[in-house]
Symmetry: C2
């Protein structure tokens, strides 16, 4: 039977795993073998025994997970990881094709058929495979929690016998999946959330989670629903108006990412200086330069009493559910690549296959 | 005019301050002077300039805050602090009279008239002075946030295209102010909260914040509305039933404190072993021995995949609002001790004065 390998992630701080036991069971019921690297689930609180109980095998030196027909991963493989993949392997995971095209080239040269979850087309048939969204959901939720943790004040309004404290005001910049989840979580916690995005058509979604819409009067819609980059004039005017608005909020959470590019600066140094001491900025774009000019990637810094926090991998801080959601996404894609008899059946004519396959797409149906 | 000193807290990790600028203003309007130790508000994000703008003076070596007629503090004074108080000083703050009676004796010997906020009678006229409650509100809110932060899973139910994750189940032991706020916050975040207390009459309060009531069938009501200590038999039966129940929850938050005594053990080692990996215990009783047998005061420990967290001073992690609420409580008490002309007027016949004054109560009205 076709074998599916699950690697133990090696990136620093990565606690997720690409397949959880109950999804392994589903794959095995489909007629495939699952081979798990020992300890792969440990960071997510999933010991090897749970995989074994689900019917998975544990990888050994003689039968490494990376020699399976299909290999599942969370983070992109290193050069050393790629060298350990056999020619003809099907690799599925986050591969950062826009940020690191040289890795995709290395996979192609190694004869690997690579599916990047980032490249899955955003069509309704592929929604269940949308790992970017599932992990962004986790990031948005955790960003709001982190902001609440860093804030020296309550998020909810509190009424006591000695008086009342008002709810925290939270501004979320970028109303994609992460931004909407951050708004919804801040709202749940009792804060007064406000959302902003350069795409005015998302205003309705912002309002649907109970948040207000910040209208700065600047629009920029690009391909695939992503924000396009603004012109210089637009950006200057946007920053001027944003800078003015930001000073009125207790918390700013930024989620403005442009795939494959440096993140736009939305919170300038001047904006931070305009915030009250005790305010908090949580910047989810730290890995690509940050949405805040004063962000230091992966660190907390305090400037004029304002805490600027740059978490780099929030899904890894909630590894059980992040892994479970991710595994569901991968298994949905995996099931598209395998026929009813449990054999590889990669259809290059399928829109999802063609979109997600970033290296080694077979010419014909296997 | 009567002077009111605000000390800079010296206890490790203490970021609160006993008076915030806007309450200083209220005291000054009352005809009193406010003298603030430089940097007193810094940990709470309140620079000296804000106090100065409110009309307060900054203490100097020649005019120390501890030489004021009335001195406000958050944490109990050290021996060195007591030595710096002049005879006749009125001291107001957390003084831990039950936990450290020798400190109260030292204050009495130093000729200090000491008001412990812990000793304010729990009568309706004193509600606005109830610092235990205001700080417990902060602790309960932060305990739920901390639990959400430590959990490897979502608190809310999440529905995605690839399926649904169920809400986290949260058990809160002890339904005082902190417990109720923890339940309310867990509920806000979308978890399924359940409350338990040895006092069955609080079941209605637990339900009123949207939580379920865990009925173990054991009751123990003591003086002042606090739980009395259970008998040995009751405790054994309680632990057996609790241990069984605890294994069904993702998160357990414990808030069972008995003033002046060692905290009861409610979460045994066996109970922790019965929890699923990835579960979380947040124990608010760490300072007095902990409600969980495996708690290490002030630390996070992981046992069998269960994280046991023992935060010792949650209000200090949210210093701005914790200080603001606390300052309101102190000023309410202060205003009871001062007459319309701004002179000390301590009435030993007043129930609140008589209850709160733990040392040096004047024999007659001043």
């Amino acid at each position: 039977a076709l074998s599916v390998g699950v690697v133990a992630e090696t990136a620093a701080g990565e606690r997720r795993v690409a397949l959880v036991p109950k999804l392994a069971e589903r794959v095995i019921r489909r007629g495939l073998r699952v081979v798990v690297e020992p300890g792969a689930g440990e960071g997510a609180g999933l010991p090897d025994e749970l995989y074994a109980a689900a019917g998975a095998e544990l990888a050994t030196a003689a039968s490494p997970a990376r020699h399976c027909d299909i290999v599942l991963t969370v983070t992109p493989p290193s050069d050393a990881d790629i060298a350990r993949l056999a020619r003809g392997t099907v690799l599925i995971g986050f591969l950062d094709p826009l940020g690191a095209p040289q890795r995709i080239e290395a996979l192609r040269e190694a004869g690997v058929t690579a599916f990047a979850v980032e490249s899955i087309p955003r069509i309704s048939r592929a929604q269940a495979m949308d790992a970017l969204s599932s992990q962004a959901n986790v990031s948005g939720y955790r960003a709001a929690l982190l902001a609440a943790q860093r804030a020296p004040r309550f998020f909810p309004m509190l009424t006591t016998a000695a008086g009342t404290v008002p709810p925290a005001t939270v501004l979320v910049l970028g109303a994609g999946v992460a931004g909407l989840q951050a708004l919804a979580t801040a709202k749940r916690l009792g804060a007064q959330p406000t959302g902003y995005d350069v795409r005015p058509e998302v205003a309705e979604q912002v309002r649907s989670v109970g948040a207000q819409w910040l209208d700065l009067g600047i629009e920029a819609i690009g391909e695939g629903g992503y924000a396009r980059e603004l012109t210089d004039d637009e950006r200057a005017e946007q920053q001027r108006r944003l800078t003015e608005a930001i000073g009125g909020f207790d918390v700013v959470i930024t989620t403005a990412l442009v795939p494959g590019r440096t993140a736009p600066t939305l919170v300038t140094a001047e904006a931070v200086h305009g915030m009250r001491p005790g305010s908090v900025v949580v910047d989810l774009a730290g890995a690509t330069g940050g949405n805040c000019a004063l962000t230091e990637a992966g660190r907390d810094v305090v400037v004029d009493g304002v805490t600027i926090s740059s978490p780099l991998n929030l899904p890894a801080e909630m590894p059980l559910h992040a892994s479970e959601l991710y595994a569901r996404n991968l298994v949905e894609l995996l099931e598209l690549l395998v026929d009813a008899e449990g054999r590889l059946a990669i259809d290059p004519a399928d829109e999802i296959v063609a979109g997600a396959c970033v290296a080694g797409l077979p010419e014909e149906v296997a």
